[in-house]
Amino acid sequence: MKKLKMITGITWAFAGLILMFILFPGMNNLSMSVSKLPFMKINPNYNGGVVAKQIVEASCTLDIRKPVFDGLLKERKSGFVQIDWRGTVPDNIVDTIDYDLDEIPDFTITIDRIKSTTSINAMSSKVLNIGVSTPTSYGWAVRVNLKK
């Protein structure tokens, strides 16, 4: 029994050595395999969720994302919707958004990019306030807080 334990221990130690050998040269392949695991995607609370509707204009594209209410086990009572303006974004933005895609406008958002001010005019009781409004590498993004 003692001998068996010893052999197992030493074998495991050498397996460790081999693992370490594979780790760095195999890093790209290993991390690629990890990235394909089913849970390896960023939670919508962070990446803003998937694009539900895209409005393409001459110089700028407007992405309305799917509202995010994601919680651990069930949806939360409050959440947000993210809107992205991509491309050559005008200095003054005024857009009316129907975030739940029911053909009824839910809020109008006004952004002055020069002064960095954002205001919202809610037309639905589910729209609360502005969560984030910020310039991004692709244009501008806004998160509007919502309740269910």
């Binding site: 003692k2 334990k5 010893m6 052999i7 197992t8 221990g9 030493i10 495991w12 130690a13 050498f14 397996a15 460790g16 050595l17 693992l19 370490m20 050998f21 780790l23 760095f24 040269p25 890093m27 290993l30 991390s31 690629m32 990890v34 990235s35 089913p38 849970f39 390896m40 995607k41 960023i42 939670n43 919508p44 609370n45 962070y46 990446n47 803003g48 994601d70 919680g71 651990l72 086990l73 993210q82 984030v132 910020t134 310039p135 991004t136 590498s137 692709y138 993004a141 998160r143």
Partner: protein, 383 residues
Amino acid sequence: MNNNLVSTSMEKSFGKSLLYTLPMFLITFIFISGGKVDFSNLPAALAIVVTFLFMNILYFMMHYTGKTDKFRVILFIIFALSLSFTLIKNMMEMRHSMSFSQADLLECKIPFCHLVIPMMIIPAAFTKSIIFPGSVIGGFADISSMIILWLVATLVLGRGFCAWGCFYGGWDDGFSRFRKKSVIKKISESWRWMPFAVLFMVALTAAMTLGPTYCDWICPFKAVTEFEQISSVESVAKAVVFISLFLSLVVVLPVLTKKRTQCSFLCPMGAVNSLSNKITPFVVKIDKKACSECFKCVQVCPLFALTKEDVKNGKASVFCSKCGKCVDVCSKNAIHFGIKGVPAGTMKNFSRNLFLFVSFLFISVFSAGSIINAVQSIFKLLF
């Protein structure tokens, strides 16, 4: 007896030490430089050569002198400093500030660090997603690579990750060596379970809020890496927490206690790594026949991993990071690196050589990128 006169059997002759260093020399050369150094960019080439030689000299010295921690800690501290330097330099170049912006958060551009891993497990199981605004693959410190690096390291080294891999640990390890003698000596052993309590709380709160609580509200190393832009009362509160925890647990207490207090009392990853110590092949063992029960090892252990009972039981506890400080201090050569299943007191040299090879390979290749970067910047500044 004067300890300096007692030779440890781990010492090797000059030639033998060179021979032991040769495989590390070749492997690190290939792993670090890709097999060739491009001298057309002189500062970069010099940085690679200096880093590579410096690392191998440290490894040689470990064999030649028979001391482990003495040389390990040099690399460990340099790793911590150079990583912070590289991160801050990147941030300054890209954003002209040490803080990340709302846009970085929204665009998921935050570098991922291993401390997030314990918090993402429950949410990953339930929501099939990662609760961190980073990049899944590609870019600086992406999530997949960090997971793989940590997973292999913790599987093979267990809590050895905390002495041979973590790019934060060098900070409190460094500060714990500032004074010759400790000012605060009596600390209850119960506190060493604190990281488990922190782990429990952060895992729970992270699951409930779907947010990386520890990074958001606690991590002391935000003070030397990157943190949220100060734009609200909440962000001020966070900055105060980060800075005060850094000053108290990473600077002041380590200086006063000569212990790695942040790693011993706070870090949830330390708790996870302690758990993986249960499966790792390498351990620190005590040869009870050779031990004179002077308990010097208990005194010097920076992580409260050795108690008198542990010494009497013949092995270090799960908190052991295999730093080798206790091994270096033992004049009887009773405490040594060992392999699970191999009885204490036997195959000491073999176990140490194997462990050193594995752990040094990890730290040298893992740390090479940021050290080379830091050395290159210093060269650019100087010449």
